[in-house]
């Protein structure tokens, strides 16, 4: 009959722009872990329910990366589910805050798509990459702000030389935009 697996220990949480990264200690192989269920809440009492479930993984880490540009605080508890369907009591609660994105205070010079942790408004999304990138962007992405269309001209993924699906080569993407005057200080860019 099924017994309850032990909850994970050593959980940590750390914020960055738009995301909070969690990690914990991986337990032994018996019982085999089906997955870790990550529950998040704005309040310190993290209720364990489908409403608070933000993701599942078998790895010893998870990035809650759909938090948006404004800084937010989240509390997390992790439930271990084993191969027999046994569920642990929740881990101890950890908390962290994401940090503010400069898109919330900077002045935008050019913007492609939305900062919404999704890429559906961009070319080839959600899964056209493996088949489509080389066909759609044989010379890489060349996007002219104000004239190009994010839905066809900006790939939702920008492959690098390690990405076999895009031919394991380097790709260049260009984002062209017009400035009224040459700025005195350097500008910054942000993706999300």
């Amino acid at each position: 009959m099924t017994t309850e697996p032990a909850p994970v220990t050593g959980a940590t949480a750390e914020g960055r722009t738009g995301a909070i990264d969690l990690s914990w200690d991986l337990p032994g192989w018996e019982p085999l872990v089906d997955h870790f269920a990550i529950h998040a809440s704005k309040s310190p009492e993290v209720e364990i329910s489908s409403a608070t479930l933000v993701g599942t993984t078998v790895y010893g880490r998870f990035s809650h990366d759909t938090l948006g540009p404004e800084p937010v605080t989240r509390h997390y508890r992790i439930v271990t589910v084993d191969a027999a369907g046994g569920r642990s009591t929740p881990s101890e609660t950890v908390r962290a805050s994401s940090t503010k994105s400069m898109t919330t205070y900077g002045r935008a010079l050019a913007q492609v798509g939305e900062f919404d942790s999704k890429s559906l408004e961009l070319a080839l999304a959600p899964a056209g990459g493996p088949r489509g990138f080389r066909a759609a962007f044989p010379d890489g992405v060349d996007f002219v702000h104000g004239r190009s269309d994010p839905g066809t001209d900006w790939s939702y993924l920008h492959p690098g030389p390690e990405d076999e699906w895009a031919g394991r080569t380097e790709h260049t993407f260009r984002l062209r935009f017009t400035l009224d005057t040459v700025p005195e200080a350097r500008s910054d860019s942000r993706s999300g």
């Binding site: 009959m1 085999l32 089906d34 599942t56 078998v58 027999a84 369907g85």
Partner: protein
């Protein structure tokens, strides 16, 4: 038993019993005496939705398989079963009406194994057809047909088998299995990519007429429940169920049962080995749960024994290989002449599997020595011009391992090496050369490469890679349609029939035809084209 090698210092079942309650529960899935079987509480209706199967035939037995799934597509991967043990009974008969029942027994379906059972039936007659079925509560499964291997010292006059690989469920219908289930077969070999880990979305769902899939299927498989669900979706297909019920299978996985192009503990997607092995562990668990594998292959953590040897009398020995779990990682040189990929330390099989393979080949007295494995052994120059370019994911990325294998084959006069391969989603056939750079060098073996059952959708006879493949003089066939390979083996020749289907995306009514037929004569390695080569 023909399982010739000593695999573990400790008997597997003793080992499992010693390692604790959970492991013992897993072992009971292979069979228990009546007094050890739990009394069933109410069994949900229709628990055999994923069908039945048999595999690993020996002269005196087979492994039977089923998994209880009253709701096959339940998203927690448990198929709608309550989290309790159930006793499953099985019967093996000499006739399909079950008038002459020769074996019966019980196995325990436990939630640890997603209510899969793997009864290991022994005491059967060699080279005989049998029928089997399962019962749980008042529910009786469909009937399966299986066949034992001939006695170790027998001289079988013929052996008929089918070879399949790469069945991305979402790319098309399993018309290949519709056809396979109508053939007279002793055995089916599956050479990898039974499932694919990719999320199923509008973009890759080319199999038409299957309705809406829930959001759970759109996720890349990473957790055990996700791998279990993907197997359930795949095995729910009626033609695949029919093919499993039709003949015993020998299954070996390739990369997509875990993750694209992985190498041992190395993911190609920037993940630590520690994390990746967690994924490999759940993927291997789901693989064991969903295939008619012997308990020798029951995973321990992230490790799974998959290489093994089966004998069909003196006619053939099948060396089933695992070219993923023990291989070295992708070399840094990308295939430049003399670069890291030629390092003598590199192995696609790993040291222990190489040793096991060579020892077996050296002492084999079989007419045909078959390597049933995943990726192309022949060297394939992928540059159609004067330069050279090689794929590092196949044996070309492990040239020293190939040289060691060929050295064993030639210096020991291993009879009639025959390599069976999948992976490339194309039908192909190659002559294995002592020196691939010299077309006049000796042909030392033959490689038959089966196309995909479904992966890459409809396909076409020729495509943009045809020139590349056929530019290698030892490549004698190229066809980019979907299908499977059917082989008729006798002591004097092997006839290979490369079957193709005109379409698989629209529905399962496609027309099956033979694209090419070759004969390989015993004692004369290579390919004699009967019809349709050099597509």
């Amino acid at each position: 038993m023909v399982r010739s090698d000593a695999r573990y210092p400790l008997d597997r079942r003793t080992f499992l019993t010693l390692t604790g309650i959970s492991a013992a529960a897993l072992a009971m899935g292979t069979g228990v005496p009546a007094h050890a079987a739990p009394v069933n509480s109410r069994v949900p209706a229709d628990p055999f939705g994923l069908g039945i199967a048999s595999g690993e035939p020996t002269p005196d037995g087979v492994v039977l398989w089923t998994r209880l799934t009253p709701e096959p597509l339940a998203e927690d991967g448990h198929g709608g079963m309550p989290p309790r043990d159930y006793t499953v009974e099985y019967e093996v008969a000499a006739d399909d009406r079950f008038r002459d029942i020769v074996k019966s027994g019980r196995a325990v379906a436990s939630p640890e194994l997603a209510h899969a059972v793997h009864p290991e039936v022994t005491g059967l007659e060699p080279a005989r057809e049998y029928f089997y079925r399962f019962r749980v509560g008042g529910e009786i499964s469909p009937v399966g047909r299986t066949k034992t291997a001939p006695a170790a010292d027998a001289d079988p006059g013929s052996l008929a088998f089918a070879v399949a690989s790469c069945q991305a469920w979402y790319h098309g219908h399993y018309t290949a299995y519709r056809d396979m289930a109508e053939q007279d077969l002793d055995l089916v070999l599956f050479l990898g990519d039974y499932i694919y880990e990719y999320g199923i979305t509008e973009a890759n769902l080319w199999r038409q007429g299957v309705g809406e899939l829930s959001a759970a299927h759109a996720a890349t498989t990473i957790t055990l429940e996700q791998y279990r669900l993907r197997y359930a979706l795949t095995k729910h297909d009626p033609h695949l169920r029919a093919a499993h019920a039709h003949a015993p299978w020998l299954v070996t996985p390739d990369d997509h049962e875990v993750e694209n192009n992985y190498a041992d503990d190395a993911s190609q997607y920037g993940m630590s080995p520690e994390d990746f092995l967690r994924r490999r562990a759940v993927a291997y668990r789901a693989l064991y749960e969903n295939q008619p594998l012997h308990s020798d292959s029951l995973p321990e953590g992230p490790d799974m024994r998959l290489y093994r040897r089966l004998r069909y009398g003196k006619l053939a020995e099948f060396n089933v290989l695992d070219t993923r779990q023990h291989r070295n990682d992708v070399p840094s040189d990308g295939g430049t002449p003399g670069g890291e990929h030629t390092d003598p330390e590199r192995s696609i099989l790993g040291e222990r599997q190489e040793e096991w393979l060579y020892e077996g080949l050296k002492v084999s007295d079989a007419v045909w020595n078959v390597l049933a494995q995943q990726v192309v052994v022949a060297s394939i120059d992928r540059d159609t011009g004067p330069g050279t370019e090689y794929s590092m994911d196949i044996w070309d990325g492990f040239t020293a391992n190939r040289e060691r294998l060929f050295e064993v084959l030639t210096s020991n006069d291993v009879a009639n090496p025959l390599v069976l391969t999948g992976d490339i989603h194309r039908h192909s056939a190659t002559e294995l050369k002592a020196d691939f750079a010299d077309p006049d060098s000796a042909t030392i073996g033959t490689e038959l490469i089966t196309t995909s059952v479904a992966s890459d959708g409809d396909g076409s006879d020729s495509d943009h890679l045809a020139d590349l493949w056929l530019g290698n003089p030892h490549v004698k066939l190229y066809n980019a349609r979907r299908g499977y390979l059917q082989v008729a083996m006798t002591p004097t020749e092997v006839t290979s029939e490369f079957k193709v289907i005109d379409q698989i995306e629209a529905d399962d009514t496609g027309t099956v035809s033979t694209a090419a037929r070759f004969v390989t004569e015993a004692g004369r390695p290579g390919l004699n084209e009967v019809s349709g080569g050099q597509q």
